[in-house]
Structures are given as structure tokens and as C-alpha cells.
Subunit: 162 residues, 6 copies
């Protein structure tokens, strides 16, 4: 456990945007993942489209980047963070069956881009859902979590094995 | 399976915002769910805050509503939809342990608010993550899926038992 | 008093975006006002600029229109409303001394543009503040209120004399 | 009076976003206030809801934070500012009768968060209006003003007694 | 010439968002075009990427759709319009040399999506510029114009030969 | 030619937001231009309005500034950039006939405001189109290009004579 206080509330229990002014502006990174579980036929369609026509993942990648940019609008107490890079990668996994999304976001700021990475993974996964829901409405997004973060006072963290 | 085409691409395979002009404007509804799995101590904190001080779920509810409003900005091919209601409900579940988020969105439009419901559930869950990550960075969002939709040509649909 | 319930909460006290699906889509209008009280010299500057150079009110008018468009982003439970017109008018009043802002917004929707009119008046007034704060940081925005609304079940309402 | 020029216009009188590149990036702060005057019964409702059910002020606090984030969208010549903290506090005042909103915003940037603080106070007050207008449409927002600012070339300023 | 008045100003010359409440809600369409003129080598790169790797046009298509959605934020007096479809098509033209962008937008509303089509063509062209500027900073966007519109009182219009 | 790689794709050809974390934060500037070609009568109307009533260019200037602020929302891979100044200037040119738009944007960041300048020029030109389309639907935006940039590793660049 990283600490013992919900920092998004002040001492009276009121929500606030946490004060980060005293923290140094440093390079920071966060990496998040989501899995989109789907019918085997849906995965085949996505795979068939990866060569430029009907390219679900090409659209989902931009959905992920848009999600990173919108994080502070959708998440009430999230700071706007100065993004320096956003990468969204996909792995097709027949054993799910489905797509594994991995979003890596870096920033130079006084707080880290954990929420931007989580929002990027989430938006990329939701974009896959949006594009394939006409053929597979039961798709499920699962295992959305932070895998790693670097920078800031708490330093390097990797998700412990579950 | 609801159909056999990825409607978000034209016949040449290019992505587009699907033409819905010919569909009738009717009342539509969608309901989505997400689960936030967390450490037992984190769930206790959330439960302790439900009486107005340190109210994680009160903030997350508004995060969900903000997510519904932002759906068409974060999801590239999603239409802006005329929302008529957004509800975000939470259930604390000690057996997860964690929080079950359920978002119900209604609209009167030519397409349904499925993506708005999915984005609302996702944003509410991500807001819980944001507010509790200082004490539990390993929380996982799981089982984000559509539970039900009503209205439109495809009518009433409920998620089949998995 | 227009009613006796805070409609933005459900029966359990949870905030939600109120369900308006059952209401008819009709033409609606709302008119709001704000006053910006300032030093006499500031008012003179604004008056001097009204001929196209240093036109504070020309910028503030667009600030008001932008505020109407952004209402549902800044106000958590406000519905996005289909605007059909936005007018922002100014009156220079030497007796305040200051500027009286009046915003008139119309919409065809299932709920009225009261918040859009209030946000338009507020944003126009804040834009005046922004542009003149370098010479008069003590300006005050006062008497921001709804003057009139038309349409919907509650019909025509005008602010009673105070 | 802090100066004698409307800096938001160039020498030809054209509006522009003021050049701040030459200013040092330093910690800055601004604090603004608004009062929401209402019927005594409305204030009682708000007070009754402060324990977590029907929590008007909990929603209004997030409306204020959203308003701070949206300042540069709603105010035409306002710079996007790097926010480092946003606090929105409320005081129930039976003598108004009504609610006093106080928003404190800090930033590390080349210009200060005065407009963000003013927009936060305004949005929080407008959110109170939105949530209570069903029972009290005549509520008035008044005395919206800057109380204090710190940082930057002009240094510390507090609103002089009126 | 379609008329003789600048409808975006009232009789006193003040800018406003034009009142469209009295117009019928009907299907409307607009089609706009832009050309991106570039070095022959840049066009070759774009052509080489059209098979899914380094797909400039796939990204630009989504830039165009994002531009259509953002029209009413970037254009001060533009109404938010209810989009029902957005298509962005590209033609590689060795004789320019460059890319011809064509955006077709439809809506069911009281005003037409002319600005949405113009903004879609512009954003798609600007996205091409953004992605290729590292190899060809001198690219020029030219001939951005409306080609056709349908619906509304003024009916069908096609751009006359120049 | 400034380089030989499309930096917006990784080595596998996937689009990403380019990593700029290692670049120094320095003052940067970009200047872009667009021309709006129109009927002579349209230009006369614009000229007649420049004295404060029916001021097309006053509105277009703010459209340009809004466009600069929205660049990273409309352009998928564009970084949010810290703007320090935005200027939009107009020249009426009877020989076009039309209006020449010039937008100058500065920023202190790890990447330059080229896209913000291009988007500002584009939005200002599109706003002119929006306001005058009721009298001249055939207006064309042409010659939208970067004129100059300063700062960053590639230093000072001016558009070579064509």
C-alpha cells in the first residue's frame, strides 16, 4: 500500500484538486493495460482489417490518444498534465480471445500521468467496443490496471504479481 | 451476434461516422456496468466516506456523468447523442472486494447511448481509481460491459448469461 | 416557490442528470442578467473602445456565447441543450458605475436554456473582468440572476420585483 | 489602480492573447468569492443535504473545479494556465440568507490564475443555482470578485475594503 | 449571391448566434473540399503508407471527423449542429502534386452543416500537414471551399464553375 | 526538406504522439497565413464593418485564438502546447479580392506551436467564411501555409519563395 490517506480530500473531508505546486517538475511515465474479450469471429475480423482496410486498431489507437488528452475533463479531480508522449499498442490474443491494449504515457510535470495512461487504455478499448458492437455486443473490457509508473517521490513501481 | 458487418467502415474499408439520418428519432436507453476490484482496506475507506466526508462515490458519480457527456470527444467515430438522463449507481461488494458501478443513460435520438453508458461506467470507475490510487495503486477495473439496451431497430437486448 | 423537490437527486439522495425524455420538445427561452460594477475610469475606457478599437464589449459578447455553449461542461448535472439562438447585450450605466449584461438564449428541446442564459451572462461579465483587470482588479460581478423564461410545463415566468 | 492600459489589445486596438513568454514561471495564487442569495427554505434544504444525501455543495464543489479547468475555453483571451491546486469552500450564512463560495486556485506559470479562481467561484455558484432552481428560481449570484492574489511582478494584492 | 445581409449581426451591428428556432428540422447535407499541395517525395511517402503502416490518411480521416465535431467550439457564432454522418475521402493527385480532401457531412437540424464540412476538410488537411511537416514544412493548403449543400430554405446549391 | 522520416509513426508504422520529453523547454514561435478569396462586394461589406458595427474581423480574430487553443483536440497527434501569445492580424486586399489572415503564436515548450499557428489562421479564415456565407457561399480559403518558425533544434526557418 502506497500510503494511508485519500489525498483528494482535505482534512474536513471535502474533495479538492490536490496541491502539487511544491513538487519538482520532473519526467514521469505511466503504463496501463486493458483487455477486450470478444467472440472468436470478432477477433478474426479485427485481424483481417489490420492491413489498412477496416482497420479497427488504427482507429482505436487514436481513440486512446484522445482519451489521454481528455483525462482531466472526464475525471473530476485529475490535474491537466503536460503530456510529452502517448503510445498505444495492441496484441491480438487468440486465447482470450481478444485484444490486449497497452498505453504508455510520459509527461514532464509535478504529478504523473497515471490517469492519462488509464484513460488512454480505457478509451482505446472502448473504441474497439464501439467499432465492433454491431457484430458482438457482448464484448467485455477487463483487467484495466496500471502496470508501471516512474518518476516522482514514490519512484519506480511495477504492478506486483496477483 | 447482432449482424455481420463492421458498420464503421465504408465499402472501401475507410472509417466514417455512420449515417443515421434515415433512422427515426426515438427514445433509447443503455445500461452498462464496471467492477472496481480493490484491497479490503480500500473498500472500507470508501464505505467510511459514504456519509458526506471523503465521499469517493459522490465524486465518482459526477465523473460518470462527465464521461457520458464526453463520449463523442474520446471515441473517434461516436455520434454526439442527445442525452435525456444519466444515472450512476454503486454497490459495495465485500466479496469482490470492491465497488460495482452501474450507469444508465437514456436519449432521444437516431442512435442509442450505448457508448455513453459504457463511457459513464468507465469514467466513474476511473474516478474511483484516481481517488484511491494513493492508497491502492493495484486496483483493477474489470467486467466493463453493456448489460441492456432498449429502442431502435434492434429493440430490446439484454446481455446473455456468460 | 416553483416546487418542493431538488430534482437533481434521486429518492436515495444521489445526484443524477434528471430524466427529461418524457417531456415534449418545444421552443424555450431564458433571459439572464449580470452587472459588472467598476471604477468610473474603467467604464470610460470601455465606452471609449466601443467604436472598434479596444472593443471590450465585442470580445465579451463572444465570451458570453462561448459560455452558453460550454454550460454542460462546467455545470455537472446540466443537460446539453440544443441552442437555437444566443444574444448578449450590454448597457453602460454611469450610476453603477458599470456595465449591465443581458443574455437571451433560446432552444428547442425537452428542457429550457436557463443555465445557458446564466452561463452566458456570467461568461460575458467574466470576460469584461478579464480584459479590464489590469486597470481595475476590484471590479465586482453582481446581481447575476434569471429575469425571464418561457416554454415547458412551468410556462412563462418573470422575476418578481425584489 | 494596477496600471493604465488594457493589455488585451495591441497598439492598433486589436484583441490578442497577451504575450507572457518573457515572464518567469513562478508559483502564483488567486482567491475569489461569490455569494448565492436565496430563500431561507432553500438554504435549509442545502443545509439538510450536507450529510451525503442530496448534497448540493458536494456537486457544486466539483462544478467549481470544472469551471477552473474550462476558464480558457469560456473566456476568449484567457491563457491556458497550469493549475497546481483548486479548492472550493462554502459557508452557509443565514443572514444573507445563502451560501458564500470561496475558490482558491494555485498555478506555476507565467501568468496568474485570477480568471481560473473567478470562473471556479462562478461555476460553483451557478451549480448551486442549477440544483436549486426547481424550488427557488429567483436566487441571485452576487459579490463575485477577486479577494487576493499572490505571485508575479505585481506581487501580493488583497482586495481593499469597499 | 445568396442574400444581401450579414445575418450574424443584429440590426445594431452586434454579433449574435442567429435565431433558427422557427426553421423546420430537416435533413441537410454539405460537402467541402481542400487540397494539400506538397513536394512529390511527400506524396510518395503518403502513398507508400496507405497499406496500414505509416497510414497518414487514416489518421487524417479521423482528424477530419474530430474537426466536424469541434466546429462550434472553434467558430464563435456557429451553432452546435446534430450530425448524422461524416465522411472524409482522399484522392492522391500527382499533378498537384498532393492530396485532395473531400468531406461530406449530414445533419438533421434547423441549420445546415456547412461549417462542419468546412472544418472537417480543414482539419483533415491540417492533420496531413502535421504528420508530414517533419519532411516538408512548405506544404500549402489551398482551394478550401464548399462544393455543395442540400436542404433548408435555400435548397440545393452547387458551387458554380470558377 | 527538413528530415526524412514521418516522426508520427513508430518503427512498426503505428501512429503515436511523438516523445518530446528529452527536448529542452525553450521559447518558440510560429507564424502562418491564409487568404480568403471572395466577391468584391463581400470585401466591401467587411471593410464597412471594421468600425465596430458588423465587425466580421473582430469576430474572426477571436475565432483564430479559439482555433489555436483547440489545436490538440482537432489534430489527433498534436501535443497540447503551452501558449504564451496569440496574435491574429488581417489585411484587406482588393486585388485578391479578399482578406489575408496572419496568425503568430508563441509558446514555451518542448515542441513548437506550428500547428497552433496553422489552426489559428484556419479558424480565423473559417470564421470569415461563416459570417459572410449568407451573402457569398463561394468564398475560397487558399494559401494556408507556415511562413516562419523560431526555436527548437531546427532553429529559424522561413518559407522559401515558391
Amino acid at each position: 500500500m502506497a500510503g494511508d490517506e485519500l489525498t483528494h480530500f482535505d482534512s474536513a473531508g471535502a474533495a479538492h484538486m490536490v496541491d502539487i505546486a511544491a513538487k519538482p517538475e520532473t519526467p514521469r511515465m505511466a503504463r496501463a493495460r486493458a483487455k477486450v474479450v470478444m467472440a472468436p469471429a470478432t477477433l478474426e475480423r479485427i485481424e483481417a482489417g489490420s492491413m489498412g482496410k477496416g482497420d479497427v486498431l488504427g482507429v482505436a489507437r487514436l481513440g486512446g490518444i484522445a482519451g489521454a488528452k481528455q483525462a482531466s475533463v472526464a475525471i473530476p479531480l485529475c490535474h491537466p498534465v503536460r503530456l510529452t508522449a502517448v503510445e498505444v499498442a495492441f496484441e491480438l490474443d487468440a486465447s482470450l480471445p481478444g485484444v490486449i491494449v497497452e498505453a504508455t504515457v510520459s509527461a514532464v510535470d509535478r504529478t504523473g500521468p497515471e490517469m492519462e495512461a488509464m484513460c488512454a487504455a480505457s478509451s482505446a478499448a472502448l473504441t474497439i467496443y464501439d467499432m465492433c458492437k454491431a457484430i458482438d455486443r457482448s464484448m467485455t473490457i477487463t483487467d484495466l490496471c496500471l502496470l508501471e509508473k516512474r518518476g516522482g517521490k514514490s519512484g519506480h513501481w511495477t504492478r506486483p504479481p496477483q
